[in-house]
């Protein structure tokens, strides 16, 4: 008999315009000691399934049909006391963000002990002993001391271990892990996934692993369920589904995942998704505004040459010099980017890769070192017109398409603004037609100009950001994690778009990401950063096939392998 059995689950979210069905007619089984992956893009309903099992659906969501059994006991429709006996006791849950899952102003001990006492009825001291024991089990060293600490004294990976310990307090039969590693670095992700696998086989608990990341599924899950817009598309053993998907959606979803083992030219288009503009029509740039002033003589020199830059930030503002402490965000970084090339910077959080981008754009001035862009030393710019020219030439696309666009401006105004500020159009009519052409170019269509950012999805907003960056006719585009907040199929579209634009406009990219497979697809050369230092720079294929630095080797080893 299956440990967890979901039969024909329906979840409805009633709203004024009728009911929105988040999960339709989905049946899932999980056995003890098995890891079941639920994979899908945003809006697929995968988290809703987990929440429905736990009775944690957010109002006004409700279970509208189907039955849920845990070891033969029917658990849907429970409320009050019955639900509390289930949560934490028979089913443990792990959330995505370990930074916000713990109460910041209580000790780890208090949070563990209250959960243990709630379910097991132990005395205060017995619960304390068990809490220390649990922390040890999830791999926290020196548990007796650390248990007295507060959440902010733990790193992200350590906090997620604490969260797992909290989910294990009462020896649950089932664990629901909702994107447990999405907020973590790859090396930490590998450790947490190993821990989940180990606990699953040691304690013979069933695990539901909800994630958007095919690589995580491939490495961890025994069986997988593919969801799309609330429907179960396909289910089967992980190896079967990945190697031999039977449904068109699963096929295209799997095709959109950047392979880690080889470089492909373009990502295939994901079926069932109609927002993609497809391959760009070839723009005739010779007479167009965008092509103007784009003929640069190829001198064979680097377009941008970063020489020994360092940046230190003060940690406190003590009056006495000897009391001040600093953090060196980047230390002695040097690299060249050739015209038309994509240079990648990869590293884990805190490695300083975004700081490099900010120093180049001048958001933060460098503490030392120099940056030469198109034979101009950026530190020696005298006139403001020259500074403006450089700023026009260097543009940036940010990670979060939700906060990088002003929600109170129309898309047309957002894109026109850099043209107005830099006086790049002679007439109003010219400016307006350029804005519309740019929207066409990034595949959004001309109607988008009159709308506001909130009317667009994340991927479409990232297209707006790109159009805005292109509006100053830049030569050098810095993309700081441009697809990290996006679904895999949308990521494929944006990466395709960036490749097409580079080809047509002869752009040079600095591409910053933590995602090794994406880097492999996008970059000609890659620099690997760790704690502010550039440890290795190589041609992309050389880097992946023959990494020289041990850190690069471990990064490549730890990335979830997704190979078909």
């Amino acid at each position: 008999m299956a440990l967890l059995e979901i039969k024909n689950m329906m979840v409805e979210f009633p709203n004024r315009r009728g009911d929105f069905t988040a999960v339709k007619d989905t049946s899932i089984e999980v056995a003890a000691g098995e890891i079941l992956g639920i994979v899908g893009e945003s809006g697929a309903g995968k988290s809703t399934i987990g929440n429905a099992v736990m009775g944690l659906l957010q109002a006004p969501g409700r279970l509208d049909g189907g039955e849920i059994y845990l070891n033969g006991d029917r658990i849907d429709g429970l409320s009050g006391e019955g639900l509390r006996k289930l949560r934490g006791n028979r089913i443990g849950m792990i959330f995505q963000d370990p930074m916000t899952s713990l109460n910041p102003i209580e000790t780890i001990e208090m949070q563990l002990v209250e959960t243990i006492q709630e379910h097991l009825g132990l005395s205060r001291t017995e619960a304390g002993t068990r809490a220390v024991d649990l922390l040890g089990q999830v791999g926290i060293e020196n548990a007796g001391v650390r248990i007295k600490q507060y959440p902010h004294q733990f790193s992200g990976g350590m906090r997620q271990r604490v969260v797992i310990a909290l989910a294990l307090c009462a020896e649950p039969e089932l664990i629901i892990a909702d994107e447990p590693t999405t907020a973590l670095d790859v090396s930490i992700q590998a450790q947490i996934l190993d821990l989940i696998k180990r606990l699953c086989s040691e304690k013979q608990v069933g695990v539901i692993l909800i994630t958007h990341d095919m690589g995580v599924i491939a490495e961890t899950a025994d069986r997988v369920v593919v969801m799309y817009k609330g429907r179960m598309i396909e289910a089967g053993s992980t190896a079967d589904v990945i190697r031999n998907p039977s449904k068109p959606y699963s096929k295209s979803l799997i095709a959109a995942v950047p392979p880690s083992n080889r470089k492909i030219d373009r990502f295939p288009k994901v079926a069932m998704d109609d927002s993609d503009g497809g391959r760009l029509q070839n723009f005739n740039l010779s007479g167009h505004w965008l092509g103007r002033g784009r003929r640069f003589e190829d001198t064979g020199d680097a377009l941008i040459s970063v020489k020994h830059i360092s940046k230190r930030f003060p940690l406190n503002s003590a009056i006495l010099k000897r009391d001040r402490t600093y953090i060196d965000a980047i230390k002695d970084i040097s690299f060249d980017v050739m015209p038309g090339e994509t240079f990648g910077l990869v590293g884990e959080s805190g490695s300083g890769k975004s700081t490099v981008a900010r120093v180049i754009t001048g958001i933060h001035p460098a503490t030392s070192g120099s940056i030469v862009f198109a034979n101009t030393d950026l530190a020696n710019i005298k006139t403001s017109s020259e500074r403006r020219r450089i700023r026009r030439d260097i543009q940036m696309v940010f990670q979060d398409p939700y906060s990088s666009l002003n929600g109170r401006m129309r898309v047309g105004t957002i894109i026109a603004e850099p043209i107005i500020v830099n006086k790049l159009a002679r007439t109003r009519a010219e400016r307006d037609s350029v804005v519309l052409d740019l929207l066409d170019l990034v595949g959004l269509g001309r109607d988008a100009a009159r709308k506001y950012p909130h009317e667009f999805s994340g991927g479409q907003r990232q297209r707006i950001s790109i159009a805005r960056a292109l509006a100053t006719r830049p030569r050098f585009l810095i993309c700081d994690e441009p697809t990290s907040a996006l679904d895999v199929s949308i990521q494929a579209q944006i990466l395709n778009l960036l490749k097409d634009l580079q080809e047509q406009l002869n752009l040079t990219y600095l591409f910053i990401s933590h995602d090794m497979p994406v880097m492999r697809q996008m970059c000609n050369r890659i620099g690997v950063m760790r704690s502010g230092e550039l440890v290795e720079v190589s041609e992309t294929e050389t880097l992946f096939n023959d990494p020289r630095h041990s850190y690069t080797r471990s990064l490549i080893e730890l990335m979830p392998k997704f190979t078909k």
Binding site: R84, G88, F95, T100, P104, I105, F313
Partner: protein, 326 residues
Amino acid sequence: MLSYVLRRASQSVLVLLAVGLVAFSMFRFVGDPVENLLGQERTDADIERLREQLGLDDPFPIQYWEFLSRAAQGDLGISFRQGRLVADIFIERLPATLELAFVSAAFALLFGVLFGIYTSIRRKGILTNVILTGSLIGVSLPTFLIGILLIYIFAVELGWLPSFGRGDVVQVGWWSTGLLTESGLKALILPGLTLGLYQMTLIMRLVRSEMSEVLRQDYIRFARARGLSDRAIYFRHAIKNTLIPVITITGLQLGSIIAFAIITETVFQWPGVGLLFIDSVQFVDIPVMAAYLMMISVMFVVINFIVDMLYLAIDPRLRDGKTSFS
């Protein structure tokens, strides 16, 4: 952490010095003290003599220093109107104001926090709507109107409570208290309610919105997923996180209750420092006005300092000095 405490303390001292300067300037620039002290029939020699006697021919910084050091020793000068030491007058009047302020602050805090928590947990419901509507009245009506309405209902029509004064007071050392007699307690109710109503509404609305925000946090969802009882979630996890921002506002409000008791004291003829201040404005009694200014600012600074120290006690993240650069 120690450096944080010291830094805050030195900031407080700076604020007090600045306020002291303003208070002192009142002596110097609002009218001529010599004119105020000498009658119509004065001679130039009298003026000269008094100037020298009072030290008015000393340079400004020296005079300011003299003023500060005397104020620090409790010597705030002599009231122009009553001819008594200002410090004595304040000692006589202060207990009335402080008792009124603390009674209304306690009322505002107790009911503000209770109602705030209740209305954020039960977002819909008859009682929630009653409380919210009532509180809207509390913020929209001006204090003096509420005072007059209360007097009309409870003193004039029903005759249950006195409409003015402190009732009978008992002397405990130099402190005169109305808390120990029945008529004293009765006399506190109406002015306490009047003064505290607005603060209660404010605290309630603040607690409600903060608590609603906290209840949406991941750690509250996670606490539910761990199977904790509602009581543990609301009263162990949510409340403490809610109160951190509430403390600041409440601290400031306590200061303003004392500072702006003026209106309530006038309406109820309450013999406190607020009424004293109004009287002294009428008679241009500058030493009293300056002393009042100093007293209010000391109170604000002390309360703010205490609030910051409470932060340290509640929030472990601040104790490590982490938030300054996270």
